[in-house]
């Protein structure tokens, strides 16, 4: 596997003040990366950060593209320029992105982006995005999503958000950030642990487990207005929240009737119904994307393994068979594969199970992996692991080829959750 290190220049240049922000290091890339040129956008120097730099770093981070150096072009190319395809082919570019940042009356801006296939010598598409000074970074990610979709045929995830927990000293912070780790915001700070954040399907709320009452209690937290409601605070432990795909139900693990068993309820805690009835630990429920199934971890067979049952309950069927410790099931967005944590000779690693042919592939080479979380397009998996004794996030493509590490300057980072597409 090709391995190189590239710290994103923009992350260093434009990091707002000295914050303990996540920075991304690429530690492995796809074997076949499409060479692509992103020309500097006309007029982009009027606002920082540079739009073309955001697009370049997003595309690079996907592991699917090799970003080519672009010489200084005079005059700058725009979406309206006549392109000399042969010249860009000579620079080895398979695709070319050009564009401009245009000032409109009233202090507003517009970002125009155009994507061309230099091999087929054809325009793939062009778009204009309303732009404000404050949302420049978000617009850059939108533009990168547009380019990504034109080139790969699948939706980009550059404008999605991630959530994770940072532990610094004895404080825990639940943070959200752009998928590239920039623009982090703390939505909850506590002296007691926070685990298992789970995004609502509309991306507006996060369910999580907080230990602020000396026991695990499930909360639902509305991001915009910081309103927290108790979803499950029954006698005993309340944990492992999972949203149904339509957002109407929350599956949780409760010990109110003894042991750890899976229940389902409305996100406000009403209409509670027990789904599993075993003497074992049944936990870590996750809905399949079609809402029909719930995958979960159970040690009913003697060791923790992954099972699946109807979302309304009923007899579970065992899904994992290799090994003696398989936990934390995460169905892929297309429902065809399952990511989970497998213990292999003392190492905890991310494995992918093809649900059709039952093939298992271990896709990480770290040894203390936890909490895998699919990007909403299914291409990448975010996970927590430990490097040099510190908790860090890392990301791996679902084929195991592309690898990235997200680190902060201080603290332990854990419990990542990749947010949904937001339209």
């Amino acid at each position: 596997m090709q391995s190189f290190r590239l710290w994103f220049v923009c992350a260093l240049l434009f990091a707002p003040a000295a914050r303990a922000q996540l920075s991304i290091e690429i530690t492995g890339a796809g074997a076949q990366r499409t060479p692509i040129a992103v020309a500097p956008f006309a007029g982009e120097n009027t606002l920082a950060p540079s739009l073309s730099a955001i697009i370049r770093s997003d595309l690079e981070r996907s592991g699917l593209f090799r970003i080519l150096e672009v010489p200084l072009l005079q005059p700058a190319l725009t979406e309206a320029s006549a392109l000399n395809y042969a010249e860009w082919r000579a620079r080895l570019a398979d695709a070319l992105v050009v564009g401009s940042l245009v000032a409109l009356p009233g202090g507003r801006f517009e970002t125009r982006v155009r994507v061309d296939d230099t091999v087929k010598q054809a325009r793939l598409g062009a778009v204009a995005l309303p732009t404000t000074r404050e949302a420049l970074r978000a617009v850059g990610h939108r533009a990168a999503d547009y380019v990504y979709e034109k080139l790969t045929g699948e939706k980009g995830v550059f404008s999605t958000l991630i959530a994770y927990v940072v532990k610094r000293g004895n404080a825990y912070e639940l943070q959200i950030a752009d998928a590239d780790g920039m623009g982090d915001q703390t939505i909850l700070k506590s002296y007691e642990p926070i685990i298992s954040p789970a995004w609502s399907p509309d991306g507006r709320r996060i369910a999580y487990v907080s230990f602020e009452n000396k026991k695990p209690v499930v909360y639902v937290h509305s991001i915009q207005d910081a309103k927290r409601t108790v979803a499950a605070n029954f006698r005993g432990s309340n944990s492992a929240p999972a949203w149904s795909p339509d957002g109407s139900r929350l599956a949780v693990t409760l010990s109110r009737e003894g042991g750890s068993q899976i229940f389902v309820m409305a996100p406000n805690g009403s209409g509670l119904r027990r789904l599993t009835t075993s003497q074992a630990i049944d936990t870590e429920p996750r809905y399949s994307p079609d809402g029909r199934w719930i995958y979960f971890t159970s040690d009913r067979g003697g060791t923790p393994q992954i099972y699946r049952m109807s979302a309304t309950g009923g007899e579970p069927q065992r899904i994992t068979f290799e090994g003696s410790y398989n936990v934390t099931p995460r169905p892929s967005p297309d429902g065809k594969t399952l990511a989970y944590i497998a213990r292999n000779g003392g190492k905890f690693q991310v494995a992918i199970l093809d649900l059709a042919n039952r093939q298992v592939q271990v896709i990480t080479d770290s040894d203390r992996d936890e909490s895998p979380s699919f990007a909403p397009n299914g291409r990448m998996i975010l996970l927590a692991t430990v490097v040099n004794g510190r908790g860090v996030l890392s990301a791996v493509s679902s084929d195991g080829r592309v690898k990235q590490r997200l680190t902060t300057t201080s603290g332990d980072v854990r419990e990542p959750a990749w947010g949904p597409f937001i339209d």
Binding site: P193, I195, S196, V209, F211, K214, K215, P216, R235, G236, S237, S239, A240, T253, S255, G258, G259, S260, Q279, I281, T283, E284, T297, D299, P304, Y325, V327, T328, I341, R343, F348, E370, S371, E415
Partner: protein, 185 residues
């Protein structure tokens, strides 16, 4: 799990009974009657049976102090478990028995049992393992006479380790239950 814990608990119950016997006062043997030659037998004089004391002074202050007195077994609040094991080891049975007695004698007392797991593996599955440990001690306390309503068993999973190094000597300290009384949490 149930089948494994039953013998331990019955042993624990026996031990409690045994302890009760040994502390029974000796004075309840019948006192010898006085000999009076050939005179008609007088009604037998029996010794008074020991009358138990209702001691209101022992309530409250003194008992709460006992929970914190380092010389009192009630100040011991942790039960440690072997790897992948959930039964109460012999060395911790006296602690569990002492707390059961306290709860029995103080029906108004409330207890929170926090189960814990070592750091290996899934955080949520470890919440399950900690719950299994706290449920084990709760069940033992109830079999020894405490009331279900007095005790809440919960789990902190791997989130509140007593020891934060990575190795068995440390993990052994983290596989534990902590018993907290009302007012302490």
């Amino acid at each position: 799990m149930h089948t494994r814990i039953l013998p331990i608990l019955s042993a624990a119950c026996l031990a409690t009974l045994f302890a009760a016997c040994s502390t029974t006062p000796e004075a309840d043997k019948p006192a010898a009657s006085t000999e009076r030659g050939a005179a008609a037998p007088a009604p037998e004089v029996t010794a008074r049976k020991p009358a138990p004391t209702v001691d209101l002074t022992a309530r409250g202050r003194d008992d709460a102090a006992a929970l914190k007195d380092p010389n009192n077994i009630l100040s011991k609040r942790s039960v440690y478990f072997d790897f992948d094991k959930y039964e109460i080891k012999d060395e911790f049975k006296p602690v569990v028995e002492a707390h059961a007695r306290y709860l029995r004698e103080h029906p108004g007392a409330k207890m929170l049992i926090q189960g814990n797991a070592d750091e290996r593996g899934s955080r949520e599955y470890n919440v399950g393992l900690g719950q299994r440990r706290s449920d084990t001690v709760k069940r033992a306390l109830i079999l020894l006479g405490a009331k279900d309503g007095q005790i809440e068993s919960v789990s902190l999973g791997e989130e509140k380790p007593q020891c934060s190094d990575h190795g068995e000597s440390c993990w052994a300290k983290n596989r534990r239950d902590d018993m907290l009384y009302g007012g302490e949490y």
